[in-house]
């Protein structure tokens, strides 16, 4: 066309070969952001959606009003859980590379989200995770073997072979089934929370989605219904800067924070350093208290970075600088909590080294056991007839006929 196009297309600050540049990230100093009461009105605490709640300062001290009362043992436990999550991811990633499982997604660099937030809820609170929240299952101790069996689609697979790897669930521990369809869990969490209100129960709900997924309709549905019914729910946006190949600006992060989306609905939004476990825990605790006390929903934006590839099908070197993570100003959540504990004399490099070894050993042992229940390629195999179950509560006639037909066809040779 003759005329000059002038549509605005959001651009990341750096592409492969260029120097990483996070100057676009607004950062507040640790301890700088006020901590309002949990019954404050959204309108009065808008600042929380624009500043960045941080607790750990550059000297690794926990400072400011958000510094949580959390015993050293619990902090050490959090560190252990993050390290275990990373060891688990590392092992599963390699297993995928070796063809033992068909697919995998790491939470590398985002471990503080699931561990820190998970610890802020009560066991009876219902979690509606996204696919990068494996840490929630690990934190609630649903069992590494159990998770591995799912990834292996083996005879102990909780999903009975129906889902790709990583789409876990755990009813007993109140963690919902992970969906392959982005953002759909958000209104589920709100509905579950409405249910608790209707039943007059104290449990609350929480859900997670990524920065990119906030563009989906269900994000809007969830915020609208949560606002209208004042649902006791904590809605979390994990802003890891990337959605596969598109940076957070393509989701609308350029001109406004994701936390601020909440303000438009009259829901408090809080922007928190997602790699600062203490800040993550404190902010989530605040939101959980708020919900439990009947003060309604909160939207939390966790600022972090996707340290690894989107998934094992992805190659990030095609669209972002290889060393971008190293340049990320909020660092590595494991490293930061570790240094904090060392500073406080609660931890040491040696113990950390030992922890790394233990975690590796735990994962190795779990893998050994999990594979003993079979893999996609090695027996024992799942019973094929499971394919026809759980479509409905009871198998209708047409599925029973299809089941028989398949078994005949598997029998027939020619």
């Amino acid at each position: 066309m003759t005329k000059k196009p002038r549509i605005h297309i959001p651009q990341p600050t750096a592409r492969p070969g260029e120097a990483p540049d996070f100057s676009y990230l607004e950062l507040s100093p640790a301890g700088a952001v006020d901590r309002p009461d949990t019954d404050s009105r959204a309108a009065d605490i808008g600042f929380l959606a624009h500043e960045l709640v941080r607790v750990l300062d550059d000297e690794h001290a926990a400072v400011g009003p958000w510094a949580p009362e959390i015993e050293p043992e619990k902090q050490v436990e959090a560190l252990e859980l993050m390290v275990l999550t990373r060891a688990f991811d590392d092992r599963m990633l390699r297993m995928q590379r070796q063809g033992k499982i068909t697919f995998y997604m790491q939470a590398l660099g985002e471990e503080a989200v699931s561990i820190g937030q998970g610890m802020a809820f009560e066991p009876g609170d219902m979690m509606f995770p996204a696919y990068r929240n494996q840490g929630l299952y690990i934190m609630r101790d649903t069992g590494l073997v159990d998770m591995m069996c799912q990834c292996l689609s083996n005879t102990r697979d909780m999903c009975k072979g129906r889902q790709m790897p990583i789409f876990y669930q755990n009813r007993e521990h109140n963690i919902f089934s992970i969906s392959g369809n982005l953002a759909t869990q958000y209104p589920h969490a709100v509905g579950w929370a409405m249910g608790a209100q209707i039943k007059g129960e104290d449990h609350i709900a929480a859900s997670w989605i990524g920065d990119g997924s906030t563009a989906e309709a269900d994000f809007h549905h969830a915020l609208t219904f949560a606002a209208v019914y004042n649902a006791p729910v904590v809605l979390n946006v994990v802003n890891n800067q990337w959605a596969i190949s598109t940076f957070q600006g393509v989701a609308g992060g350029e001109r406004q924070t994701f936390a601020a989306r909440g303000l438009g609905y009259g829901i408090p939004g809080i922007r928190v350093d997602g790699n600062d476990l203490l800040a993550v825990y404190a902010v989530t605790r605040w939101a959980a208290e708020r919900a439990r006390a009947g003060n309604g929903p909160t939207l939390i934006e966790l600022v972090t970075y996707r340290g690894g590839a989107h998934s094992t099908s992805d190659d990030p070197s095609r669209y972002r600088p290889r060393d971008e993570w190293q340049a990320f100003p909020l660092g590595d959540p494991v490293e930061r909590l570790k240094m904090h504990l060392i500073r406080n004399g609660e931890w040491s490099e040696d113990r950390h080294e030992a922890l790394a070894q233990e975690s590796k050993a735990t994962v190795d042992a779990a893998w050994k056991e999990a594979t003993s229940y079979g893999t996609l390629t090695e027996p024992p195999f799942l019973d094929v007839e499971l394919m026809f179950e759980d479509v409905f509560a009871e198998m209708p006639e047409h599925l029973e006929l299809q089941r028989r037909k398949l078994m005949r066809s598997l029998g027939s040779r020619s």
Binding site: R171, D390, A393, P396, H398
Partner: protein, 338 residues
């Protein structure tokens, strides 16, 4: 026993289930204080409270999405979508979540949600208040689909749907809310009072979710249909002077193949009729199933009388709708073939 129209029968089903089961809740646009644009929940919020019968924001996706969450928390939501034409914004939650949850979670989670929605034309609703989208739901594995044709079934099937642990999409042809319709738009409207299926027990009862009903036994041909067209078919058969066996499918998915098979194998002739558009409509599955089950007994090709493959036009409503005359033509064609 009382005389009820379909609206009263549906309201009665809600009333009884809200009373019997504290986990039953209803939600939808305008269903609370107002009682619904078709009055199906009139008085129920006043009777059971705002936390049992909720007015919802205008977001079908949000209604179905939160209904799933309510169900996962142990409730039994009955969600009203104001018109079937407006169910599409909630389609993803139906296909990707509601109908897949039990399967994908190995049976650990499930969501017993009922989605009720008025469907069909005949009320000058034009192309966005007249659609019959049942055929796109029956293709989705994991959800049951019902379309009712009379007050008695409406109440009994709705109670079954609410009690079912499977999700159910429940279609209510709005043209017959107040009375049966024989497919002749020039005749004055009649009420349910004269119709046997307008006699409805006041108490709890159920109609099974997997059984078709033979509404008229006959020998000459089988007419397989559901919803409004059941009544049109009955009138058309009388007018055509054939001894037709007329089957009301009622529950479209899962399909009661046996009843269809027995009938067509007996009559050897079959006409399939529905209001929805023809191409890839539910009738295609009925034809495909019947030709497979009854091939050797068929004396004529199975014929379809349906809405045309166009949107539902306002001015040409009665040219679009499968009126009595078109059913008569269809019956003749099947009878004369071979």
């Amino acid at each position: 026993m009382s005389q009820m129209n379909m609206i009263q029968a549906i309201r009665s089903a809600h009333d009884i289930m809200l009373e019997r089961d504290p986990s039953v809740v209803a939600l939808g646009q305008d269903i609370g204080y107002f009682g619904g644009v078709f009055r199906c929940t009139e008085g129920l919020q006043q009777k059971y409270g705002e936390h049992r019968v909720l007015d919802a924001p205008i977001a079908e996706g949000g209604i179905i999405g939160t209904a799933i969450g309510l169900a996962v928390n142990g409730l039994r939501p009955v969600a009203e979508i104001q018109f079937a034409d407006y169910i599409y914004p909630g389609f993803d939650q139906v296909v990707s979540e509601l109908s897949r949850l039990r399967y994908r979670s190995g049976g650990d989670f499930f969501a017993p949600v009922v989605i009720r929605t008025p469907c069909g034309g005949g009320i000058r609703g034009g192309q966005t208040h007249s659609q019959s989208p049942e055929g796109i739901f029956t293709h989705v594995s994991g959800v049951k689909t019902v379309m009712v044709s009379n007050p008695y079934d409406a109440k009994g099937l709705l109670i079954s749907a609410i009690e079912s642990d499977d999700p159910v999409v429940f279609f209510e042809p709005k043209r017959i809310y107040n009375g049966p319709f024989d497919g002749d738009p020039d005749k004055p409207a009649v009420s349910w009072a004269a119709h046997p299926k307008g006699e409805v027990p006041d108490d709890y009862y159920t109609v099974p979710l997997d059984k078709a009903e033979i509404v008229e036994a006959g020998e000459d041909l089988t007419i397989i249909t559901y919803g409004t067209i059941v009544h049109v078919a009955q009138a058309a058969a009388r007018r055509a002077g054939v001894d037709a066996e007329i089957i009301d499918v009622r529950t479209l998915m899962p399909l009661d193949v046996e009843t269809l098979r027995d009938s067509v194998c007996k009559t050897g002739r079959c006409l399939v009729a529905h209001e929805a558009t023809r191409f890839c409509g539910y009738g295609a599955e009925l034809v495909a199933t019947v030709q497979k089950e009854c091939f050797w007994h068929l004396e004529a090709p199975i014929s379809r009388v349906t809405g045309w493959d166009t949107p539902y036009p306002h001015a040409f409503e009665w040219q679009y709708f499968p009126v009595q005359q078109r059913l008569v033509d269809g019956i003749r064609k099947v009878m004369e073939a071979g």
